[in-house]
């Protein structure tokens, strides 16, 4: 009896569906709370290649809901993509699991998402989702969107040319500071587990060609109130007017939109990305920073903890996570002071 026996017994998947799953290559964008759930289930389901991309490292406040990580990962400040892929290789050694530490940008997406059959959304921000949407439409690759805050969230499958796209529903990025974030509203584990699981359900339907794209919908769930609502999106794409899927605009993919700094959801931290990608000597920073504060490091990053409670965690590609602030301008100042431009 093979390891996927129970999944194959489920009639809509069956043996043919299982073969399709095993031949698939899936990109998991972001490996925080949603991404952990998604990566875990896709690996267990036997997806042939699971590529996990994340820009962050494990923090103590992640453990309440991000079930692939533990206290060792916090102590070692392991990048999430590495911690997740190492853990999941022990779950399923018969598939290929790629853990990539990095940011998904209009430049890097061309490499990260060129050869995949499906993209699943584990990101924590609107900007990356607009980029994924652009890429999906441009390359005709389906993606599954999910978002979550507090006790509720939504999921939606986007099949280019068939269903409405993300921008049909959300034409523009919310203005900075107007959207709820996990920092202000919090988030509970049951919500991310349910939303992540619904994303995987849609992903498996897409991989096994059992997804019905003639009845597009968005699902909204509130796990605290016990609400489950399905909003019918039939006719929305045909109604036209979407700048991306009707108008052909690819504002995020072509780099006209999108900032180089992002507040990390729930982390009291800001990621700063240099305007051009770099290949830094982390060892040099480890030595240079010794007089400035407490310096710790692992093969992927160097962290400088400053006396005022802020910190700089620098990755080899030049990105840094500035801890102890949610002000982008403050974070950029700290970056230029300790890393330079």
């Amino acid at each position: 009896m093979n390891r996927y026996h129970k999944q194959q017994l489920f009639a809509p998947i069956g043996e043919a569906g299982q073969r399709a799953i095993q031949h698939a290559r899936v990109l998991v964008c972001g490996c925080g709370a949603l991404g952990s759930v998604i990566a875990d289930q896709l690996v267990r389901a036997g997806v042939g290649v699971v590529r996990i991309v994340d820009r962050d490292f494990v923090d103590i406040t992640n453990l309440q809901r991000q079930m692939l990580f533990d206290e060792d990962d916090v102590r070692q400040q392991t990048p999430k993509a590495i911690a997740a892929s190492e853990k999941l290789r022990r779950v399923n050694s018969e598939i290929i699991i790629e853990g990539i530490v990095g940011d998904i940008t209009s430049e890097t997406i061309r490499e990260l998402a060129a050869d995949v059959d499906l993209i699943v959304d584990g990101t924590d921000n609107y900007e990356t989702r607009f980029l994924l949407n652009d890429w999906s439409l441009e390359k005709n690759i389906p993606w599954v969107h999910g978002g979550c805050i507090g006790s509720y969230g939504q999921v939606m499958a986007i099949v280019p040319g068939k269903t409405p796209c993300y921008r049909c529903i959300l034409p523009e990025e919310p203005d900075p500071g107007t959207a709820l974030t996990c920092d202000t509203a919090g988030v509970i584990a049951p919500a991310v587990h349910v939303i992540g699981s619904l994303e995987v359900s849609l992903a498996l339907q897409l991989l096994t060609k059992t997804f019905d794209d003639s009845k597009p919908s968005i699902w909204h769930v509130d796990v605290w109130r016990g609400d489950f609502r399905k909003i019918d999106l039939t006719g929305l794409k045909e109604a036209g007017g979407c700048p991306a899927c009707s108008g052909g605009q690819r504002d995020w993919l072509h780099g006209q939109r999108g900032a180089r700094s992002a507040v990390l959801c729930g982390r009291n931290a800001v990621q700063v990305t240099p305007s051009s990608r770099a290949k830094l000597s982390l060892e040099k920073f480890r030595q240079d920073w010794q007089q400035l504060g407490v310096v710790t490091s692992n093969p992927y990053l160097v962290k400088l903890a400053l006396n005022d409670g802020t910190s700089v965690t620098l990755f080899g590609d030049g990105r840094a996570v500035i801890g102890g602030t949610e002000e982008i301008s403050v974070a950029r100042g700290i970056y230029s002071r300790y890393v330079g431009q």
Binding site: G30, G32, A33, L34, G35, D121, G122, T123, D124, N125, Y126, R129, G146, G147, C148, I149, G150, Y152, G153, Q154, C168, I169, L170, P171, E172, P174, D175, T178, A179, L180, T181, C182, A185, V187, V192, I218, H220, D227, R229, I231, D232, L233, G235, L236, A239, G241, C265, G266
Partner: protein, 66 residues
């Protein structure tokens, strides 16, 4: 006039646009999807489509965390 919002009856002062209703409910119109009588109202029509007595509305806020 009475309408049903997210499955619960609600009394409104009178007819208003979808956008007006969303604002009155304190929801940022930038990131919500509104279904009126089982039909999604496209965003650019939120300022034109009127909510009438007896309407059933589903309003979903699209959140960005994860």
């Amino acid at each position: 006039m009475q309408v049903v919002i997210n499955g619960e009856p609600k009394e409104l002062d009178g007819p208003m646009t979808v956008e007006g209703l969303v604002r009155q409910l304190g929801i940022n119109p930038q990131f919500c999807a509104v279904e009126r009588n089982k039909m999604l109202v496209p965003r650019r029509q939120h300022g034109e489509v009127t909510v009438e007595a007896g309407d059933s509305l589903e309003i979903v806020t699209l959140v960005g965390g994860g």
